[in-house]
């Protein structure tokens, strides 16, 4: 893994491409794209919990929608109030 890291760093390959760590993109306060997610743990219109390989992402807000869900990325839209991460204990 370490060797691999060196090579990829040298070639400037994005980390989310070669491993399964998530990439989170937030546009404004109302749209959030999570790539490399693993699954949905909870989904309500005010609270959404999404699991990834390194931990969970908790999203609080109003009228949350999962606009588009494919096998490796998810688009959460709605009024996002706060986000927090629960890192896995290694």
């Amino acid at each position: 893994m370490k060797e691999y890291n060196k090579i990829s760093k040298f070639l400037e390959i994005p980390r989310e491409v070669i491993s399964d760590i998530p990439k989170i993109t937030i546009t404004g306060f109302d749209e959030m794209i999570i790539e490399n997610f693993k699954g949905i743990l909870e989904y309500e219109d005010f609270f959404t919990r999404i699991s990834t390989s390194i931990g969970n992402i908790n999203i609080n807000g109003f009228n949350l929608k999962l606009n588009q869900m494919t096998d490796d990325d998810i688009l959460v839209s709605g009024k996002i109030e706060n986000i927090d991460f629960e890192g896995k204990q290694i």
Partner: protein, 395 residues
Amino acid sequence: MIFKIIYMFFAGYVTVNIEGFFIERFLNICRNKNIVLQDLHRENNTYIKVKILKSDFKEIRHIARTTKCKAKIEKKSGIPFFLNKYRKRKIFAVALIVIAIFIFGMTKFIWNVEVRGNEKISKEEIINLVSQYGIKKGKLKSSINTEKLSNAIRLDRGDLSWIGISIKGTNAIITIEEAIEAPEIIDKNEMCNIIAKEDAIISKIIVQSGTAKVSVGDEVKKGDLLVEGVMNGEHTGTREVHAEANILGKIVYEKEKKENFVQNIKVETGNEEEKNEICINKFKINFNKGVSKFKNYDTITSSKKVKLFSNFYLPIEIKKITNIEVVNEEKIYTEEELKEKIIKELEQELELEYQISKYEENNVNKTDYTSLQEDGIKVKLVYEIQEEIGEKQLK
């Protein structure tokens, strides 16, 4: 995003309500099976709404059963569902396409020939002329080379100074410019005679060169020799010259007519009936019975070509026939009225026959003679015209 919407529309999608307590589990299984979920949102505590592609729906059912959820279709949209809905109206769709193709096909032909700019030459003559060169009803537009044809026609016809053929829609518009025939100019050095160009009585003759063959008061016919291009001299003998002379002739046109004081005239009663007829090329469809209900009537026919948009003519004509009822009535004229009427008629007839209006007005002298008869009057109208009647002709 727009591509996705278009793709969904073409592939067909269903809006599904999913109800149950383990919705998260349902979503995760969907993710694992590579099912794309669109516009997922929670309507209520217990159910969510989601859009799924038509092809994925079977699997959704299966997943819902395993997760103890209920999947219910709310709405089907997209082209596959639309086609399925109207599958019984195949003939309608086919007919629509056939008509579209038919109309498109029809626009490839010429259905109307229009002539513009003609004054002396009649419209029919031009249409006949161009039809010899291939511009006629029902001809393929693409088979006509307008430039080549207009050149060929202009070379063939001397009385056209210019001809332009343009094809607009299903119209062939032929614009012509008539040539003014140049009078034959005879060179001063050429030997020539002078002949009469009209029947007339010579009233004045001045010869500059040549020998006069007629004298004042002679009646001449058209084409008669007036001045011969010959000079007789005592010393020089006979020699030929270019004849030059001013010859004025009196041309007389006359006509007489007799009419009675009591006459039958037609009076319109104001009643009319309309009939319509459709002509498809030469095939006629009548909408009314053939026989008119009036005893005496005049008929006016007007026809109109059916056109698409502004200039796509179709080979269909709508004919409108109007019958106007007339009644014969007796009218008694006074002498003055009758005379006026007859003179008017005679003027028109003479104009038609001899084109009096082509002469200069100052040279035209008009007189009328009236004679009373037992039950009517007889009017004679005489035109006397002073006119140059000589015309040069090569020997």
